[in-house]
Amino acid sequence: MKYKLQPMLPILPLLVLLLSFLAGSAQTAVSGKIKDGKGRPIQGASITIKDTYDGATSDSLGAFQFKTTEKGEQTLLVTSIGFKLHEQKIIIAGTALRFDVVLKQEPNELTAVTITAGSFEASDTKRTTVLSPIDIVTTASANADVTGALKTLPGAQQVGESEGLFVRGGTAQETKVFIDGTLVNNFFFSSVPDIAQRGRFSPFIFKGTVFSAGGYSALYGQALSSALILESVDLPDQSSASVGVSTVALNAGFQKLSKKKNASWGVNYNYVNLIASFALIKQRPDNFKIPEFHNADFNFRVKTSKTGILKFYGYFNYNRLGVRRPDIDSTILKNAFDLTNFNLYGNLSWKEKLGKKWHLYLGASYSTNTDKIGNELQDQHNQVVTAASEPYDTKSFQVKQYGDLATIKTVLERRLYGLSAIRFGGEYMYFTDKNDFTNKYTTSFINEADDHFKAAFAEADVYITNDLAAKIGGRFEHSSIMEKTNIVPRVSLAYKVGSKSQASLAYGIFYQKPEKDYFLRGYAFNDLLYTKATHYIANYQKVSKDYTLRIEGFYKKYEHLIKTYGNNNSGIIDSIGNDGFGDAKGIELFWRDRKTLKNVDYWISYSYLDTKRDYLNYPYAIQPNFAATHTASLVVKKFVTKLKTQFNGSYTFATGRPYYNIRYNNSAGKFLIADQGKTIAYNSLSFSVNYLPNIGNPKAKRFAVWVFSVNNVLGSDQIFGYNYSYNGLRKDPILPTSRRFFFLGCFLSFGVDRSDDVINSNL
């Protein structure tokens, strides 16, 4: 038997083969319907019998039918974009078959709901983008300053007398800036009394911007109101050199991309001198040292693998300036302020995919900042005056402020099912601050404050369905200078209400340690607490290619704000405490339309803010002097192809802000409001023109951009507040340094055709 069977065996498959050939002529009809989880028909799904040509595509009713010559057990595959693959075993035995298949939705970043409450994002890739990076440099009023453009978004105040973002009733100190994940100290140039300073960094080094006006992620902390999260650019497209000449600056730069396009390095140098501008544009203060800045930066970027990139950005700045103004307590004396700033900043970050599901983000940064400030009381001949009586005796002083920050942060992310993910990590920050103060009464009065600040955080993105997502996080912090820890929850929810619209909610507790000055000035305090804010945010947004609509309402509660105590009007603070409190509520609207007017892109934002707080020396809760009730902006951009020119305009309006003269009342034994009022409303119309003569000439060896801009075209009166004299009898308005400001510049780049940026912003 054995012998006989053996040669027969290989013939068996042959017989099967032959049989199947014979059977080939018999066809079986297969039909059915394809639906989604909600019972809606799916059009365009592909139905296939695995490893055969047989199959069909579903029609608009989700129905399909086809004939097959296959027999026996087979696998039926159903695929459709946006749905998970459906696989099922079927038996074809000659009789007609019918299948109704329900496809499961594939979690998809493009269609899934995203958590947006509280934040505005400017990036190239994200669907939720409200502004693109180009928008930041083409906003007329922004003067190519990152925060200038953000001030046209709802939530931010128009504060002209000091730098920073004042968000939803918060002070500028309540907004923190992060570059590639780590906190940046001294993001703005050092403060000058009553003159807002710009951000230090060029907007061109950032590819992504998230401006969170509240309810931000547990990955960030120590900002009561707002987080500005910036992401630096990756490798350039090609090597290039650039030169710029303008009414305020000269600059040159070079970027080199390696042949394999996996690494690059670059250097830039920028020299700013306002002498020409100030000669042409009359300045209100007397600039006895014309502002002069030297900035240099260096960067390198290396692709560490297909998915990883290592980036370094190093920055150096040295600048000097001096402004002289009449002294408010005298008719003949002057007050001269001079400042020298030295700043060094370095940021190293590494992003890498570890295996299939893990991502690693590593960031380290270091900065050192020195401000040398001198203030002098001078006579009509600009000579020092030494006065022994109050309030003149303390007006001349010198202070050297040193601030260093070293920080390291690690975030690990693990992808879970679908789009869900968990993130966790930690950060360590070492702050060292030193003040060296000298005046008539003290020589080199040195105070130091060091803080070892540690934080650990975890956060989960949970996609319950494609349409419903939650972000749940927690953060633990410890500050050595305060010897206190805190743990805070952060929760956001988002629900997709339509194909283009969604609603979100966010809640979170935010702590911030008191500003370093409170530790550096020798004030008395016992047991300082973290200042605290609790945010509640509700948001609705509808985003399509041509329109963006956002409506957001918020309520923010402040606790443990810093109160300052003293017993006279000299401004000397004896002690501080944590008894301050306040709240802010409001509604904000944002509308952007790229379609209705041909070649015109515009946005409108409006903020309503109702806020009161009792902090510093306020006698009770009042509307702070940096908060306007109504703020609105209109930004318009139009490219005229024939003229190769882009025209940008922006108009901002804000109702008047309150101002107060808060004086110590000896009989009451406390601070009281001696005088108060409201400034005139703020109006500013700005205009800029970008002319690109080489546009459309792909053979041009160099590419030029001419920029002309005017701020406050109409010359509207702008008053930011009032300063009061020591005796309270005189008040002087705080005004911009000039009524208007003009800028003209020409920027040339060689090797890379920048016209692409401009062309395509208008396609």
């Binding site: 040669p7 290989p10 013939i11 042959l14 083969l17 032959l18 059009q43 365009g44 592909s46 296939t48 695995k50 490893d51 055969t52 040509y53 047989d54 199959g55 069909a56 595509t57 029609d59 608009s60 974009i81 946006g82 998809n108 493009l110 190239d124 890739t125 983008t129 693109s132 990076p133 180009i134 497209d237 283009k500 399509s544 290619k545 192809t641 024939k642 190769k644 546009i695 459309g696 000439n697 792909p698 016209s755 692409d756 940026d757 062309i759 395509n760 912003s761 208008n762 396609l763």
Partner: protein, 212 residues
């Protein structure tokens, strides 16, 4: 007996093989005919699925993957639904990657790569130009190098320029020489087989006609 068995077996295998390749060519010819006559986006999507079925069943043929990807791209353009362009592009890209794996450095495949980049760019030209504009250019240059006789990269480049405003270096003046070159190359072009890519002549002539 043993010899006979081998003889039968080899005939059967040969018949199977022959039958298979004939079946493939027949299915491809039918699908390409349907593809040529497709009128609506939905037709195009359904044909893409047909090519994908053939490709997945064959596994070693690049052409059905190529056509599946190409018709997915054309479906995307016909559908003109920017919000979903990325999803269509990803699908087309997945199919093309398989074709590319089976037939590396192919001029026709490079052409489709540039079309996919165009589709992605159109989602948000302002923000995406830098990234995808470069890809479109590189892939078309690759296509020209890989097969200098292939008219399609010239046609695609000409069409891209035709659709770019004059002020930006586009328009008829710059598109015309490329389109004329494409038409000339189409006249001389001989597809490698009955099912090899041969599309684009009529389209190139149509675009060129708008410049006269």
């Amino acid at each position: 007996m043993k010899k006979m068995f081998i003889a039968v077996l080899s005939v059967a295998i040969a018949a199977q093989g022959f039958g298979q390749s004939e079946k493939f060519t027949k299915a491809m010819t039918a699908a390409i005919a349907k593809w040529d006559s497709a009128k609506t986006a939905d037709d195009m999507q359904s044909i893409s699925a047909t090519f994908e079925r053939i490709a997945d069943a064959e596994k070693t043929q690049w052409l059905p993957y190529y056509y599946a990807s190409l018709s997915q791209v054309i479906y995307g353009f016909m559908k003109n639904d920017m919000a979903n362009n990325d999803a269509f592009a990803s699908k087309a890209e997945a199919l093309l990657t398989k074709a590319d794996g089976l037939q590396p450095d192919n001029s026709e495949i490079s052409c489709v790569k540039s079309m996919i980049a165009t589709m992605r760019m159109l989602v948000n030209p302002q923000a995406r130009w830098q990234q995808y504009g470069a890809t479109i250019q590189t892939e078309l240059e690759n296509a020209k190098k890989q097969d200098p006789a292939n008219p399609r990269p010239y046609y695609l480049q000409g069409q891209n320029l035709r659709n770019t405003p004059e002020q930006f270096g586009g328009g008829c003046n710059s598109a015309k020489p490329l389109l004329e070159e494409a038409v000339k190359k189409f006249e001389a072009f001989k597809p490698a087989s009955a099912i090899a890519p041969s599309w684009g002549k009529a389209e190139a002539e149509k675009v060129l006609a708008t410049c006269k």
